[in-house]
């Protein structure tokens, strides 16, 4: 019985960490997801409007894509910190 009393908070803490990892990454993916979609949508719009600008628009698009996409990984990194390092 004493062993169980010691074990229960430990399990609860492990579960909490898993929830933190999942929630942190999942919520962090919403914004960049919308952002990446917006970037590609706007690129399609611009290229159909001005096809001769295609190369220039595409190089800016990849810059914007990489900058936006990285935000998911900031969330993932912080979640991993919570998962592995938090008390």
């Amino acid at each position: 019985m004493e062993a169980l009393d010691l074990l229960v908070p430990l399990i609860a803490q492990q579960d909490g960490k898993a929830i933190a990892l999942g929630l942190g990454t999942g919520l962090g993916a919403i914004g960049p997801g919308a952002g990446v979609g917006y970037i590609f949508g706007k690129t399609i719009e611009s290229v159909t409007r001005q096809p001769e600008m295609r190369d220039e628009i595409q190089s800016i698009m990849w810059l914007g894509f990489a900058l936006t996409e990285a935000i998911v990984f900031y969330a993932l990194m912080m979640s991993l910190v919570a998962f592995f390092l938090a008390g």
């Binding site: 190089s59 990849w62 810059l63 894509f65 996409e69 990285a70 990984f73 900031y74 990194m77 592995f84």
Partner: protein
């Protein structure tokens, strides 16, 4: 057709979503995915408190450094030949990307661009080789050695030196200090700090804007290093989990047939992710790092914002 697939998948989705089923899933506690990124010293070198042991990350860095040196020498030797072959065309393209697009496209003054082109091109190739070598299976995994004729040989594994925070952080620190030093050299310390405040900001709000600008300079340290590190780490983790980690984790509770079905399914996803990482992310992250370096350098010496 879609409706039929949906009808077939509904029980599975319900099973996975229901709390009772989720609680019943046992995971394999012995398998620790994070150990794939653990750095065991292969050759121990210790100078007092400083640990200079050669780990697998150091081997990857050496390989990337050698490849970078060879590429730079090749570019220097083969540029501007009379009859360009296939090799020369590729070299021209690499030179054009690093010189015209990344460096000269973002640094306005031609003198500055000429001065920093070698640095930015080296950064680009070093990070690119680091990322690409990371997707070639190399015998560096000491976690699960294979025993052949009494010799324990490290098993083949995917690992990238850039998936370790210290490598991107060191590169970022070099970039961060060089652009500040270059800015101060070009304008002098007072004028350089004044240049941080955007044009048109006047009056009492200036100190607040200045504090925000100082913070944003510090955040660049985190964002530049974490972008590269986290992209590569997440890519490798995804490939690891999809290519077998998931089956190993869940294998104890879903049985043999379930494992095979799950393995075939996640194996396909793993191949897709691998192609995505090799084809896009590895090159894109090297490109972004070099481009941002050029932007920061150009911004530090620019006369007006």
């Amino acid at each position: 057709m879609t409706r039929r697939i949906a009808a077939a998948l509904t029980p599975l989705a319900l099973l996975l979503a229901s709390p009772a089923a989720a609680l019943a899933i046992e995971t394999n506690k012995e398998f620790k995915p994070q150990n794939e990124f653990k750095l065991d010293p292969l050759v121990e070198i210790k100078l007092g408190p400083v640990d200079l042991s050669i780990t697998k990350a150091v081997i990857y860095l050496f390989l990337a450094a050698i490849a970078t040196c060879l590429t730079m020498v090749l570019i220097a030797r083969r540029m501007g030949q009379e009859k360009p072959g296939r090799m020369e065309t590729a070299i021209e393209a690499a030179y054009d990307l690093t010189n015209s697009q990344i460096t000269r496209g973002n640094i306005d003054s031609p003198r500055m661009a000429g001065k920093w082109f070698a640095f930015i091109a080296t950064l680009f190739f070093f990070i690119w080789f680091n990322n690409m070598i990371g997707y070639i299976p190399l015998p560096t995994n000491t976690e699960h050695p294979i025993e052949i004729l009494g010799l324990s040989i490290p098993s083949f594994a995917l690992y990238a030196a850039t998936a370790n925070i210290s490598v991107p952080l060191a590169l970022t620190l070099v970039v961060w200090f060089s652009y500040h030093v270059e800015g101060i050299r070009a304008k002098g310390p007072i004028k350089y700090l004044k240049g941080w405040i955007p044009a048109g900001v006047q009056g009492k709000i200036v100190p607040f804007v200045f504090i925000i600008e100082v913070l944003s300079q510090l955040v660049r340290l985190v964002s530049l290093s974490a972008r590269l590190f986290a992209n590569i780490l997440a890519g490798h983790l995804l490939i690891l989990l999809m290519a077998g980690g998931m089956v190993v984790l869940l294998g104890v509770s879903i049985g043999l047939i379930g494992s095979v079905i799950l393995g075939v399914f996640t194996g396909g996803i793993a191949i897709l992710f691998y192609l995505f990482e090799v084809g896009l992310v590895a090159s894109l992250q090297a490109y972004i790092f070099a481009t941002l370096t050029a932007i920061y350098l150009g911004e530090a010496v620019a006369e007006e914002h």
